[in-house]
Symmetry: C2
Subunit: 140 residues, 2 copies
């Protein structure tokens, strides 16, 4: 099994539909009306865009998929995650999710990874910025 090196990275194109937001709303039980009611959105810290926004935890689920299946891949254990939601993630908008190796501790089979979501087109702002600590006994 190939060892993962500092600088290795993967990118995945993602987009969320309004139907997916509704499904997450029901599954998670997070019925916060900023995602559905224009007036509630307007009163929120995000403002009117909130009504077109994806739940932050919903957007963050892309990382558990990438980590658990692609990179480092099957066998990965999540030790910690930290995420800043700098801008709302909007429905029907193209984004790129990136996972990149920042540092590796071979002795403990650990890596610190960058986990970001950025707009797929210019200005390509980073909307979700984070890092996580993962353990993989064979790839790290």
């Amino acid at each position: 099994m190939n060892k993962i090196q500092v600088g290795d990275h993967v990118e995945t194109h993602i987009a969320f539909s309004q139907d997916q937001v509704e499904e997450f709303r029901q599954r998670s039980g997070d019925t916060n009306t900023i995602h559905t009611d224009p007036q509630a959105a307007e009163r929120s810290a995000i403002g009117s865009d909130a009504v077109r926004s994806v739940h932050g935890m919903h957007a963050a689920m892309i990382f558990t998929q990438i980590l658990g299946t692609q990179f480092p891949g099957d066998g990965t254990v999540y030790r910690s995650i930290a995420l800043d939601f700098d801008e709302p993630v909007l429905v029907d908008t193209d984004y790129v999710a990136e996972v990149r190796v920042l540092s590796v501790d071979r002795k403990r089979h650990r890596a610190r990874l960058l986990t970001i979501i950025r707009e797929a087109v210019e200005p390509a702002r980073t909307v979700v910025y984070g890092t996580c600590l993962v353990v993989h006994n064979e790839r790290l």
Copy 2:
């Protein structure tokens, strides 16, 4: 609308079934076999318990529900979240999820919250430990 104060907190009893783990596996696309294959679990950093473990992001979804509906409640915007997965969250096990106000910035309507999941019975270890930053223009 009542303002939230430092020290205010809510607790919710939670438990995850194997069916819920399977559902999250399918919905998230995180098909990491440590949750389903005893041999893969054994090789992982968690060890054999991994096969009875809940995906970390799945467990963390309790917080988006609490924040968006209960406390601070409807209208809350998540600015950041940080979580340490100190011990695996296991299926068919009773836990308590707690959200507690650590500090409030009234000027910017922000609060720093403690977000933890602990075992419901002794030794009541904290298995997920975190904090988050939220904004609520009316309650904070």
